[in-house]
């Protein structure tokens, strides 16, 4: 079980969180014309990297905040966690 530092609450066990996928995907702006390809990339297409990955988790059984976690998908090492609106270093 991973140990994740919620930027709001501190170190918590994985079972308090739910996983939210790739954190680098940006939703196209509302009312903006987008091609099928752009939309598919947003909705469906994801890379599955081995190594560093910036991903979303929600502290579901805690503060309910969505956070960003930089994690190594192979070793589970967590390098840094960020608040939802925090600049990624």
């Amino acid at each position: 079980m991973l140990h994740i530092k919620c930027p709001h609450c501190g170190m918590r066990s994985q079972n308090e969180f739910s996983y939210g996928g790739d954190a680098t995907v940006k939703r196209p702006e509302l009312n903006k014309e987008v091609t099928d390809q752009e939309w598919d990339n947003f909705v469906y297409n994801r890379v599955s990297p081995r190594g560093k990955h910036l991903e979303l988790w929600q502290h579901l059984s805690g503060c309910r905040q969505w956070i960003k976690v930089e994690r190594d998908t192979a070793t589970h090492e967590i390098f840094k966690t960020y608040k939802a609106n925090e600049e990624i270093a």
């Binding site: 009312n31 579901l60 905040q65």
Partner: protein, 998 residues
């Protein structure tokens, strides 16, 4: 029965307390502090089971967690548990146990015929033997295997015991309370670190309980006792016995199973049976010691052949002789310790040492005691079937290839020592890259991946002096990093005997013309010949050899067999052991009971059952409940001998005719507040929300980004910046997360907050033509006329002093309202509605009638919004705003979603107007078409229309728009039904929606 193998004095058992127990129906007694194994051995019982494959007689091999044989079925306090190691089970008054793998009995076992048919059961027999002929499988193979195999019987009863989970954080977790565990715990504790010291056995001290050493002028055991009592007094230290750290997971989380009650006849009140600890440790010290490994020889599985360290433990801890004519067979000095213990208790051992001329302090001591020592001697084979009667022995050449003349020695047990294997399971589980240590012929931990350090024998260090020194230092060094304290500890003097080198010898060659089974894996009956076959058949990877032969795959996970298996493979393959590599160590280290893993997550859904605040009323009024997610909801209220069908029809009819009331507390409710709330709803829902006035409700549909309908419900504008959103019962939690996602990540600029209020409100839906009359009586001061409270209107009211919210919304197709009050007033509200509703012939209705009413009306619910349908499929396209953007809108342009013949909701009526249509059935054009018959759609929900008095269903049907009036067939192979049907509009009742607006 007398305990003929118990010595007069000595051991750590309490001789003042006799304990009686039963094994295979026979009564025996032992003492407090015995294990089942030691008590049976004290009574001279060596035959405890039959082996897994050949059903050969099985005795005791070890004295602890490594035991491969003595697995029993335990009976305790009316419960039974399989797969219990007799060597670990502590004796308690009234304990009963029986052998497993024996049918019909341990003494006469039909499966033992396998022993004589063993030519048919070679390596890979699982894969080869039971393949043909097919007809044999059900009648012969399977019943035979079922009866003959297995390691006990699981109880089919509900487990009455309670199991707990506990989460704990500490600076240092120390696994094992032997010398390294005690020393490191002590220095870390003195530095103020928060320490957990775990010991899997009931007694602390590990090897110090049985070794003849001196620490700081005390015996090893006295020193251990002193350290433990000091540690127990320290507030920063938790000391736990009967606690096995069995798994090492990511981010330094370890799991430990504490046997709280297994040693007692009955679990104490309020105590759990076991407690599972999830421990997050900053540093982990693995002091799990080592396990003696056997030397392989002929018939080495005969009861009476056991590890020499186990024989010593039985003697020193339990005061039990495993035999009175012992033969000690060793390749190192450890065997001599056992021989000396025997000799001290007046028993004459014979030592066979594979080495030609070993010299050491301890050998000298043995010689001085007059022990008969034979160098360059080996046991070729044990003789005896149910118990060792003698041993065939011979001299062995220096190259270990040639045996001398076979001699026979009388003996009643053979104590084997093939040197020591460090217990590296935890280190390996943590990701440690283990390495092979040539010096000790075994793997030891290498480079750590997590914050883990292995000490003492587990690290391949077998001298006490070095173990204590490094352990004190490590404990101090690691704790200093955390507490920044640096407490000086003086390392005590150690007196121990120096060992000479062990012999790199692990397997006795077969004598000429003999074909004894030489076992590697004692629990799975894997012999040397099996591994030879596997290699001959082309298996090379050790992982493949393991699976093909099942070597090391039994419940003991090869604790005594893995290394000898590796030695054999490397020898045949002409490789060195490290290049063969070991198989993966996986948690749990030792079997853990399912109850401990499950903990308190038992019962329905493994979750607490949720009940509405009106639940008790329903119970008192004959409600029959149904699961709705984790909620319990009344399905119908039974009157007399009514069936579900009759009751739900009555309830639904009463709604259409008079008025009904339904508990809708379980609906999800979310407060949406803030100046941008309207804008937010406008983006979340598919329809327009900016112009909804205060005091009005609106039905809305929300999509996922992929265009699939996520949920529906009504949302009401309570005040300028405050909306009350409702969701379906099932989607409540997902919708909240969904809203939070957009507010926090996508549109953080919106000034909106959301919070769940599901638990805060109790809700009652009042539906039917007389609902307004009833409402007026409930709220005499409120204008509830069609003008005062129009369709989709909202007002606040006073319900006899209780503040209430009144929504005019309907899911039944009738004039209807929903009243919400604070949860605590839920029952008050309900009883008032029932009481005042009496004059209007009110009846409560359950989910079955609720479904009927919504199906008749063609209103979609969870069975249509099943995660596969878009708004069009549910005839909800009218709610899609063309003017504004919303979540998922772009996806609706996908070609499949705009296809002309897209699936769509329709109504389905059987042509005979009688036959009920099973939900989930398929719709086909031709009932007699060859299989696979093309599916056109499926039945999503079925009911008995109370309006038209015939069955009616909803279906999602391909090209449903153009299918109205078509005749199709409903097919349910599961229910063996073919029903001719007509496709009709999904709005079966009041298609224009006049009633709800009346």
């Amino acid at each position: 029965m007398t305990q003929s193998y118990r010595i007069e004095t000595g051991g750590l058992i309490n001789r003042n307390k006799k304990i009686s127990f039963k094994f295979n129906g026979t009564s025996y007694f032992g003492y407090e502090g015995d294990t089942l194994a030691s008590a049976l051995l004290a009574n001279g019982v060596h035959l405890v089971g039959r082996s897994f494959k050949y059903h050969r007689p099985r005795g005791f091999f070890g004295a602890g967690v490594d035991e491969p044989y003595a697995v029993v079925q335990l009976y305790r306090n009316g419960e039974t548990e399989p797969n219990i190691k007799a060597t670990e089970q502590e004796l308690f008054e009234g304990l009963e146990a029986s052998s497993v793998n024996c049918w019909p009995s341990v003494n006469f076992d039909i499966g033992a015929i396998n022993n004589f048919l063993k030519i048919f059961l070679p390596a890979g027999f699982y894969y080869k033997t039971f393949m043909w002929p097919k007809s044999f499988w059900y009648k012969i193979y399977e019943p035979f295997i079922r009866k003959a195999a297995g390691l006990g019987v699981a109880s089919t009863k509900h487990d009455k015991e309670r199991y707990e989970h506990k989460y704990e954080y500490c600076d240092l977790l120390i696994a094992g309370s032997g010398p390294s565990g005690l020393a490191s715990a002590y220095s870390a504790a003195k530095n103020g670190a928060k320490v957990i010291l775990a010991e899997d056995k009931p007694r602390y001290g590990g090897s110090l309980l049985t070794s003849d050493v001196n620490i700081g002028n005390q015996s090893g055991k006295d020193w251990a006792d002193g350290i433990i009592s000091e540690l127990k007094e320290m507030p920063n230290v938790t000391v736990k016995n009967r606690s096995q750290v069995f798994g090492y997971y990511d981010h330094n989380m370890l799991v430990m199973s504490e046997k709280v009650s297994d040693h007692l006849p009955k679990t104490k009140k309020y105590h759990p049976n076991k407690r599972l600890w999830y421990i997050r440790a900053k540093e982990v010290l693995i002091s799990s010691g080592s396990i003696e490994r056997p030397i392989v020889f002929g018939n080495n599985d005969t009861p009476g052949v056991m590890l020499s360290s186990a024989a010593k433990e039985y003697l020193k801890v339990y005061g039990v002789l495993v035999g009175k004519k012992p033969l000690v067979f060793t390749n190192n000095d450890s065997g001599y310790e056992t021989a000396i213990e025997f000799k001290k208790h007046g028993v004459e051992p014979i030592v066979l040492d594979s080495r030609s001329n070993p010299q050491s302090e301890i050998i000298d001591e043995a010689k001085n005691l007059g022990i008969n020592i034979k160098n360059s001697y080996v046991v070729v084979a044990a003789q005896g079937y149910k118990k060792v009667k003698s041993a065939d022995v011979a001299t062995i050449s220096e190259d270990k290839k040639t045996l001398g003349k076979i001699e026979n020695i009388n003996c009643d047990c053979i104590c084997v020592s093939g040197f020591w294997t460090p217990t590296i399971h935890l280190a390996s589980q943590s990701g440690n890259k283990t390495k092979f240590n040539e010096e000790i012929d075994a793997f030891v931990p290498g480079v750590s991946k997590q914050n883990e350090t292995t000490l003492g024998a587990a690290n391949g260090v077998f001298t006490l002096e070095e173990t204590l020194k490094t352990s004190f230092e490590k404990g101090k060094e690691l704790s200093k990093k955390i507490t920044e304290k640096d407490n000086e500890i003086s390392i005590p003097n150690v007196v121990e005997k120096k060992y000479s080198k062990h012999d790199k010898f692990w397997c006795v060659p077969l004598a000429k013309g003999k074909s004894y089974k030489r076992f590697l894996d004692f629990q799975n009956d894997v012999a040397v010949s099996d591994v030879e076959i596997a290699l001959r058949e082309g298996y090379r990877s050790i992982e493949h050899v393991k699976r093909y032969t099942t070597l090391g795959m039994a419940t003991d996970q090869g604790k005594t067999s893995n290394l000898n298996g590796l030695q054999l493979v490397s020898e045949i393959e002409n490789k060195v052991v490290p290049s063969v590599g070991h198989t993966t160590f996986r948690p749990p280290y030792t079997p853990i009971s399912i109850g401990a893993i499950v903990g308190r997550e038992v019962g329905k859904h493994s979750k607490p059952t949720r009940k509405s605040p009106i639940h008790n009323w329903h119970e008192e009024h004959n409600a029959v409940f149904v699961d709705a997610g984790v909620w319990l909801r009344p399905r119908y209220y039974k009157r007399g001998n009514e069936t579900l069908f009759e009751a739900s029809k009555r309830e639904a009819k009463n709604v259409r005719r008079n008025v009904g009331v339904c508990d809708v507390t379980t609906l999800g409710k979310i407060d949406v507040k803030g100046p941008d709330a309207a804008e937010f709803l406008n983006r979340v829902y598919t329809n327009a929300w900016l112009k909804l006035p205060v005091g009005k409700a609106r039905y809305g549909v929300m999509l996922r980004e992929d265009g699939i309908v996520m949920d529906d419900g009504t949302t009401t504008r309570i005040s300028e910046n405050h909306y009350h959103m409702t969701t379906t019962t099932a989607q409540a939690a997902n919708v909240l997360s969904h809203l939070e996602y957009y507010l926090q990540l996508v549109w953080p600029e919106l000034n909106v907050n959301v919070v769940s209020t599901t638990e805060q409100w109790a809700g009652a839906a009042i539906a039917g033509p007389k609902s307004r009359d009833l409402l007026q009586k409930l709220f005499p001061k409120t204008d509830v006329s069609n003008e005062g409270l129009p369709f989709m209107g909202y007002v606040e009211g006073d319900l006899f002093g209780v503040k209430a919210r009144i929504f005019r919304i309907s899911f039944s197709g009738e004039l209807a309202y929903e009243v919400n009050v604070e949860s605590d007033n839920g029952r008050f509200m309900w009883e008032k509605i029932i009481e005042i509703g009496e004059e209007f012939q009110i009846q409560p209705y359950g989910t079955e009638a609720l479904s009927t009413l919504r199906i008749e009306m063609g209103h979609v619910a969870g069975s249509e919004l099943d995660g596969r349908t878009i708004p069009y499929d549910n005839a909800l396209e009218g709610l899609l705003s063309k003017k504004k953007d919303f979540i998922g809108k772009r996806s609706l342009q996908r070609s499949a979603f705009v296809a002309e013949d897209r699936q769509r909701i329709v109504g389905v009526v059987p042509l005979d107007k009688k036959t009920s249509i099973p939900e989930g059935s398929h719709l086909v054009k031709d009932a007699n078409a060859p299989l696979p018959n093309k599916k056109l759609g499926h039945i999503s929900a079925s009911c008995w229309s109370v309006e038209n008095d015939n069955p009616f269903s909803l279906a999602i049907l391909k090209d449903g728009k153009n299918m109205i009036g078509e005749k199709l067939f409903v097919m349910s192979p599961l229910k063996n039904k073919v029903i001719p049907v007509e496709i009709v509009s999904s709005h079966y009742v009041d298609p224009k929606g006049e009633r709800v607006r009346s």
